[in-house]
Amino acid sequence: MSYIKIHQSKIADREAAKALCPFGAIAENAAGELEIGAGCRMCRLCLRKGGGAFEFVDDSAPGVDKSKWRGVAVVAEVGPDGALHPVGLELLGKARELAAKIGHPVQAVVIGAKTGDAVERLLAYGADEVYVYEDPAFEHFRIEPYANALEDFIEAAHPSSVLVGGTVNGRSLAPRVAARFRTGLTADCTVLDMSESTDLDQIRPAYGGNIMAHINTPRHRPQFATVRYKIFAAPPKGEPHGRVIRRSLAAERLLSKIEVLSRVQKSAEKGIEEAEALVVCGRGVKRPEDIAMLRELAGLLGGEVASTRAVVEAGWLDPKRQIGLSGRTVKPKLIVTCGVSGAIQFVAGMSGSETIVAINSDPKASIFKIAHVGLVGDLYAIVPELIARIKAKKETK
């Protein structure tokens, strides 16, 4: 068991000791001694700042034999039509990098009704082994057969780490199977690295992106991590060298209690996640009709209009266009923010953009801290002029 032990004699100032805990979990008990309460999140700040009064005691049983778990696996999601979700290739690239550090193979798992195209692409992008579960039962994502397939893969391949795309389905599948193996899952990682011990170093934002947490799964295998789309870059194509392992499940393991009644495709309009250029409407835009100007600029740049939360909440744009922690994560080649202050929740959803241009009248706006190109000024003066200049340049081409 592991816990935080308090050495009462080393506590000089009780109030100061209590104040060490940001979660208010250090309190006095009936006997007048300090103790750690149920609010403890094990952030261990009390260990660092407590002058030796707090000690982390860890006498837990040793964990699994890590040498028996080999491989960095990627769960590659396919749609009912067999299309591979691009986050699968991004994770494959990261998996190659992580696996190379410890000499492990890279495994990909494909579960679907049509998998042929996805399998070929995963091989082309460097998977060493592709485990394939193909059956009509996998046409629609239903949790029981999908979880059973991933469980079967883990039992067959014994991967050390399992990376799952943070898609709607991935965020349902990964926790389900992680719980089945009584193992750790770190959601929405933004940085992944591999240590020599094969422990996956996982870094993720918490508290709406205001804090980053470095998380390990030191005693359990496999280690599950989910990563959202567009956090990592897709790898270059290589020479296919991997092998395909086809597996099937017993009929009862393909059953689901969930009945899919219908599936309705949404309009094919390009989502902001797919756009290569985005023009973002922020609070500096005064009237909804002014968005037309941004739309024109976006059109000239071959992109889409996106927005901050305030603009969506005002009802000016569809929530699908919202960037940020409560909206979408985007990683376009170019993003031009107009009248966006740059709240951390917004920045968390776009800081991976390749080129960030910010136009804002407030020189102190925090967006300028992350912008590669900053223009302090009135967007109502700059944007129309910019549109005119771009049009002129395009005409001479």
């Binding site: 094990m42 837990s60 349902s172 992680a178 508290y207 470095h214 899919v260 700059i382 005119a388």
Partner: protein, 273 residues
């Protein structure tokens, strides 16, 4: 909603108390979290789960009941009281020192233990995610511990039947209508229903309502190694402030000059192709 024979339903909603704001910062000199004057509140996503549960109760048979359950330190009682003010019938609080420091696996395990002890339930409703942990994974893990199917990202409840619930799931490129028999777990999207405001009348009427407090010794599994930090496979190695610093250039001049320089920059970077 359905016109088939109605039966009373037992519905569980999982809720959480979170910091009143996510604007926490790390003091880089002391390494501590700065959370000045931050009051705690109900996780905003849970309001949608509560509203969903109360609406399903209204659509289900007479005698249906909604229970709100939370895990946390004793002060989390306030979110259960708030749930009462929205029309929830019963409250359960899982609180024990042994539950502290729980990660996703241990949180979901403890909630599942609480559900087993106070249930069985026909339907468990969870919010999409919390605003502090942001993992959006506890619901699915809880369903696994309970051995029941789950459906995430539910954007509408289409029919409440005697044996099953029909819902629409929101995916990025499509919506999927699904029918799930009880018992099952749903995690609901923000905006599935407009959450009602807490009622003053219910506040008065429920002020003395008893809440079931469950500690480690009250659960089926009483091994402290199976809870909280001890049972958590993931460990937080350290926390640190996000790094948002990058090299940047600023474009100066009159508005016209700025626009011209930006157009040149965009052209030079081949954004005008």
């Amino acid at each position: 909603m359905s016109c088939e024979e109605k039966e009373p339903m037992k519905i569980l909603v999982c809720i959480k108390q979170v910091p009143g704001t996510t604007q926490v910062e790390i003091d880089e000199t002391t390494g501590t979290l700065k959370r000045d004057g931050v009051a705690a509140k109900m996780n905003p996503f849970d309001l949608y789960a509560l509203e969903t549960a109360v609406r399903i109760k209204a659509a289900a048979g007479d005698g249906s009941e909604v229970t709100a359950m939370t895990m946390g330190p004793p002060q989390c009682e306030s979110v259960v009281r708030e749930a009462f003010m929205m029309g929830v019938d019963r409250g359960v609080i899982l609180s024990d020192r042994a539950f502290g420091g729980a990660d996703v696996l241990m949180t979901s395990f403890t909630l599942a233990q609480g559900a087993r002890k106070t249930g069985p339930y026909d339907l468990v409703v969870c919010g999409k995610q919390t605003t502090d942990g942001d993992t959006a994974q506890v619901g699915a893990e809880m369903a696994e511990w309970l051995g029941i199917p789950h459906v995430a990202n539910v954007k509408s409840i289409d029919d409440v039947g005697a044996k099953a619930v029909s819902v629409t799931v929101d995916l990025p490129d499509c919506t999927v209508a699904e029918r799930i028999p009880y018992p099952c777990l749903l995690t609901v999207e923000k905006g599935i229903f407009e959450p009602r405001l807490p009622s003053y009348r219910l506040m008065k009427a429920t002020a003395d309502r008893e809440i079931a407090w469950l500690g480690l010794k009250d659960l089926d599994d009483t091994d402290p190694k199976h809870y909280g930090l001890n049972g958590s496979p993931t460990q937080v190695k350290r926390i640190f402030p996000p790094d948002v610093h990058v090299e940047h250039v600023s474009i100066d001049g009159t508005d016209e000059e700025k626009a011209a320089k930006l157009a040149d920059f965009l052209d030079g970077r081949k954004f005008l192709q």
